[in-house]
Amino acid sequence: MDLKEYSEIKISEIEPILKINLRGKNRNFITKIGKELSIITPVDPNTSSSNEKLNLLWLSPDEWFLYSNDKLGIKDANSLEDKLFNEISKVKLGSVTNVSDHWIMINLKGRKIFELLSTGCPFNFNNFKNSKGAVTQTLLNHIDVIIHNKNVNDLNLFVRRSFSAHLWSWMNDSARFI
């Protein structure tokens, strides 16, 4: 899934980066992940926090999604996962699950990306568009996606691997007509 360019839309797959699903309910869990990752755990719905390396996305009141900006070496990735697992899951604070290959990340850039999304997504992007860091989980062409507003007209979209080829091809087909 190589970079494709259309009028004011660029679509590219960013691979492979570390992705971890974090779940937990109590305050200790929230402070612990903040500390371990040097990141403020976002507790407001549909928001995220980022530092130079990592992004932490709110998914639900007891679920967060962590992904790295860059590709990490196997060693670094394993050690981050192990560290989190030992500090959280093992001590019964919550769960830590590697989902790096569960999700494919597709980057969308350009002035018309929201038009592209509107061809198959019921979500109202009117406010989302202008709030950097906003996160939404919704449907695109009937497929579950997580969308992270990384920057102005710059989105990271996560789709489950088994759906990714289909969604990729659908997005490219859509982009032709925008």
Partner: protein
């Protein structure tokens, strides 16, 4: 083109760009900006079709979506042709081909027209009444009726055009870009609201945009000029989106609206290519303003359907907007003032107006006076009692009306004409309002239904809200919009509006004739050919409800949904039954407002995108190795891998033999996988599975059955204990999403106290399953440092391992009864591990096998497939799996249901094996099983759920559910098929290796 029908110069039609098109094979010319209807009229073509039932010649009657007659077939290409399009809505383009429908051999000579002479024999519901008996003759009747009733041809090949969908979110949606819609749009936009204005025409401004009449002025300008400037001023608003050629199709609750945007229908054939033809807009609006205007009513009198009889307001639009004269000598027939506007327009453009026939007593409004000043004759208190001319009207007969309007009298005047404009008043377009669930109220003074109460955040303004006088329309639109949008400016409040106002109103639903009603043809529904007489007949035959009358006479049931006919049908019913019209209610208007193409509804969900396709990480390998695929849910799973010309049976026989004899390899990545963590994980599993989990050792796997609360088997799979508080659960491929959602449901709602977290990892891991007597040797080549001895790595256990430094989980579990392993590894590496195993297995003839072989292998072992051998009515006991129900556990999902009176019945259907008397005979899945062949009615005891020919046993085997099956082991049964009866014996469900020796082979 007849030059004398086209007047020079107007601003809507580009008379410099000539367009050629074909109608019924003949090449004609029009201009850019014409509709097909206006171009045909400019070519002096009125006759465009034959009526549905009587095959009477019919001509264009309107200029909009309510057109009942100008229903044409567009295009000649077998994939692009489109039936039942309205000529009044088709914009002319170079290369357009149109043809008449419902006539043979041609519109000018139509054999079906004999129906017209037999019409007294074809009353309302003729088809219902005549073709009822004998019932089994219907098949024969239907063939001929369908043939003669055809309206247009469907395309025979796939549509080549591209369609799309788009979601739009706005603060305010304004439907209709007439004068009130424009006022509302400007107010909304000025108020910084995100505004969307849609209109079905290509030019905004409704009917006002071509109203250039001394009697209608705003701030000392003609109303059209004033509105033109207003429309131009809309360009400055960035928060206002205007979509023309966009028809609102449906208005649903929560202000969810569907509209069709036409993008290329007006373009030349060449320009249409590679563009989206139509786009279905899915609009979410916080507020909706309906400004859809009103449509003119026809008048109901004898022979009111001849070509050349046109709504008077349409004649006005054809002359003022398109510059087309509908005739050279035009007569007008009206019950209100609007026909006088037409008279003025025609007269100003040099068309001679014979006379105006008005059913009212003399009236003195501004516009009437203007017509009198022009010297046009007016027949007051008169009616047209008949028209003449077969394929085109050539004269009308006029008589005086009695005082009560029920009869005509005096001398009959014959007036020659080539066109008759009719106006029966106006009907507000309340369709969208009622679609949205709004209730209507009735206004007696001019017999209109108006919007009343609505649950939604919406208003109707302008003539669709019953404002027909320009000054009031503006005043009320402004006030209503201000209030609705909470606007605080005084725009439009000090306008100087001059307009003619109607003083006298009078209405007669069915105009009298000098002939008895039975001898007249007064059409109500032009498209479905039903007459006033039909309505009266229905009432005489006892139909009272308007909904019944509608269905019996088919009035209002054509593709126009009775836009022109409904009010008259209601009026005549009310009058005849002596009921007040307001109390009668209306029929229901349903979406879509105008017909939608299937293309627009489907959008781009065609071909490759018809359904979602999920692929495993090894998908490409399967494709390269010529696998045939099977759809399992949305997954594409390798079904079998034919070599050369093998058919499925041959491939499956080979694959299943190889798996048992040496080694097979299967892609099991589609199984659902759920990562379970938390200190209560074991307790949680105890509650969701029927068996006990607390004592499962770390590193061990266990098979579990999951029930619904009703005790019926829901899903199954193997769960592995990875750590003290960490499990990996697998589910069936099809059940994965539902199982996760069901488990989350219990955790969130019933057992929030449990410390358990679930995360789907289905797509994170690819699963390579290798089985067969040589699987151990193969695995030892792939992971040399893993101890595969039965002692270290027994059946139902798991090991963490590394393949090329990548972590993976290896489970020794088996769905085939063979010694086998499943390697779970991150999806990015799955394909290379698959290839590694395949390489390593080559010396053992490792054979890739698909789902069909997997099903066969497990059936040999009597393993169930949830969803194939179970159907939501089977308990574990029914499946003879009593061993999996823990007796010690206090509770689990479905436990209590297992001893309800119904579930402990002994004669429930139970899972059994079946062997056929002839070992070569393979049963059909779904075939019924009976014990006695001669008893009638035959008692069906059960059915076959799985059936295969087993190459390993060299005989046919089957699983089945049979009433009281457990006790019937050894009994002979019958499977009756279409041409034969198959003898079978009930057996145990396990056909192969009952001692499970092969697991450790």
């Amino acid at each position: 083109m007849s030059k004398d029908l086209r007047i020079a110069n107007n601003r809507f039609i580009d008379q410099t760009s000539r367009i050629s098109f074909k109608f019924d094979g003949k090449t004609l010319y029009g201009f850019k900006g014409d509709t097909l209807a206006s171009a045909l009229l400019a070519n002096n073509i009125h006759l465009v079709g034959r009526s549905f039932k009587y095959h009477r010649p019919r001509g264009i009657m309107t200029c909009g979506s309510e057109e009942p007659n100008g229903i044409l077939q567009i295009g000649n290409d077998s994939s692009m042709t489109e039936p039942n399009t309205r000529a009044t809505e088709i914009e002319l383009y170079e290369g357009l081909e149109a043809s008449s429908q419902n006539c043979w051999p041609s519109v000018n000579f139509d054999i079906g027209a004999v129906n017209n002479f037999f019409s007294p024999l074809i009353p309302a519901a003729f088809y219902y009444k005549t073709f009822m008996w004998p019932a089994n003759f219907w098949k024969l009747y239907e063939y001929f009726i369908r043939k003669s009733a055809g309206l247009g041809r469907s395309p025979t090949e796939p549509d080549k055009d591209v369609y799309d969908h788009r979601y739009l979110h706005c603060d305010v949606l304004i439907v209709g870009g007439g004068i009130s819609g424009i006022i509302a749009a400007k107010k909304a936009a000025k108020n910084n609201l995100n505004t969307l204005l849609i209109d079905d025409k290509n030019v905004l401004g409704g009917t006002t945009i071509f109203q250039q009449n001394e009697c209608f002025k705003i701030n000392n300008s003609y109303s059209n000029e004033w509105l033109k400037k207003e429309i131009e001023s809309l360009n400055s608003f960035k928060n206002l989106t205007i979509k023309t050629r966009t028809t609102l199709a449906a208005y649903h609750s929560y202000n969810y609206l569907l509209a069709r945007e036409n993008l290329t229908d007006h373009l030349d054939l060449k320009e249409k290519k590679d563009k989206i033809r139509q786009r279905l807009l899915k609009i979410r609006a916080k507020k909706v303003i309906i400004a859809t205007g009103a449509m003119e009513r026809p008048l109901i009198f004898n022979n009111n359907d001849r070509p050349g009889i046109i709504l008077s307001s349409s004649i006005k639009k054809y002359i003022d907007f398109y510059g087309v004269k509908c005739g050279q000598k035009i007569s007008l027939f009206t019950n209100n003032d609007s026909a006088y506007e037409t008279a003025v327009s025609l007269s100003n453009r040099g068309v001679s107006v014979n006379s105006v026939v008005d059913i009212r007593d003399k009236t003195n409004s501004l516009i009437v006076k203007q017509v009198e000043k022009l010297g046009i004759k007016i027949h007051w208190k008169s009616s047209v009692v008949n028209t003449n001319g077969y394929k085109r009207i050539n004269s009308i007969e006029i008589m005086k009306l009695s005082d009560d309007g029920t009869a005509v009298m005096g001398k009959k005047i014959n007036e020659k004409c080539d066109c008759l404009g009719i106006s029966g008043g106006w009907t507000p377009r309340v369709h969208l309002f009622t679609q949205s669930g709004g209730k209507l109220k009735f206004r007696d003074v001019d017999n209109v239904f108006l919007p009343d109460k609505s649950e939604l955040d919406q208003i109707s303004i302008g003539s669709c809200n019953g404002d027909f006088e320009l000054d009031e329309l503006i005043k009320n639109s402004v006030n209503l919009t201000n209030k609705f949008l909470k606007v605080n400016n005084n725009d439009y409040e000090n306008l100087e509006v001059v307009c003619s106002k109607e003083i006298d109103k009078k209405n007669i639903w069915l105009l009298p004739s000098d002939k008895p009603l039975k001898k007249t043809k007064s059409f109500l529904d032009f498209q479905n050919d039903s007459t006033a007489n039909d309505i009266k007949l229905a009432l005489r035959e006892g139909f009272k409800s308007i909904e019944h009358v509608k269905r019996y006479t088919t009035t209002g049931m054509a593709t126009d949904q009775g836009k022109l006919s409904n009010m008259h049908a209601l009026g005549i019913v009310a009058e005849t039954a002596g009921v007040k019209m307001g109390n009668l209610g209306t029929t229901t208007f349903r979406p879509p407002y105008t017909p939608l193409t299937f293309g627009a509804i489907v959008g781009r969900n065609v071909g490759e995108f018809f359904d979602i396709a999920r692929k495993t990480p090894m998908h490409d390998w399967h494709v390269e190795n010529k696998a045939k695929f099977e759809n399992v849910g949305q997954w594409k799973r390798a079904w079998y891998y034919p070599i050369e010309n093998e058919n499925m049976h041959e491939a499956v026989q080979r694959e299943s033999k190889a798996a048992r004899d040496s080694a097979g390899i299967l892609d099991a990545s589609t199984l659902g996988k759920i990562d379970i963590q938390g200190s209560d994980a074991s307790e949680f599993l105890n509650r969701v599975y029927t068996n006990a989990w607390s004592k499962l050792e770390i590193g061990k796997c266990r098979y579990g059955l999951m029930l619904n609360e009703d005790g019926m088997v829901y899903d199954d799979g193997v769960t592995t204990r990875l750590l003290e508080n960490h499990y990996l659960m697998t589910t069936t491929t099809g059940g994965a999403a539902n199982v996760l959602s069901k488990l989350e449901d219990y955790l969130q709602t019933e057992w929030p106290e449990l410390d358990v977290y679930l995360t789907s990892v289905t797509d994170h891991y690819g699963t390579v399953s290798i089985c067969g007597p040589n699987s151990k040797k193969i695995l030892s080549k792939v992971i040399p440092d893993l101890d595969l001895s039965d002692k270290e790595f027994p059946h139902m256990s798991f090991k963490n391992a590394l393949i090329d430094n990548i972590k993976c989980r290896v489970m020794r579990i088996s769905f085939t009864g063979e010694h086998s392993y499943e390697i779970n590894i991150e999806s990015s590496y799955s394909k290379s591990v698959w290839e590694k195993c395949f390489e390593a297995g080559k010396e053992f003839n490792i054979t890739p096998y698909g789902t069909e072989t997997m099903h066969l292998l497990r059936a040999e072992k009597g393993f169930i497939i949830a969803g194939q051998d179970t159907d939501g009515t089977m308990t574990p006991v029914d499946l003879q799996m009593d061993w999996i129900i823990s007796k010690k556990k206090y509770d689990f999902i479905g436990k209590r249901s297992l001893y309800r009176s119904d579930t402990i019945r002994e004669d429930r259907k139970q899972l059994v094996g079946l062997l056929t008397e002839d070992p070569k005979e393979v049963l059909e899945e779904g075939a019924q099983i009976v014990a006695e062949r001669n008893k009638k009615p035959i008692e069906m005891l059960g059915h076959v759920t799985s059936s295969y020919f087993s190459p390993n046993l060299n005989k046919s085997i089957a699983l089945a559910v049979v009433k009281n099956g457990k006790k019937l082991k050894g009994q002979k049964m019958f499977v009756p098929m279409k041409n034969k009866t198959i003898n079978v014996t009930i057996t145990d469900t396990v056909f192969l290796d009952k001692e499970n020796k092969r697991l450790n082979a």
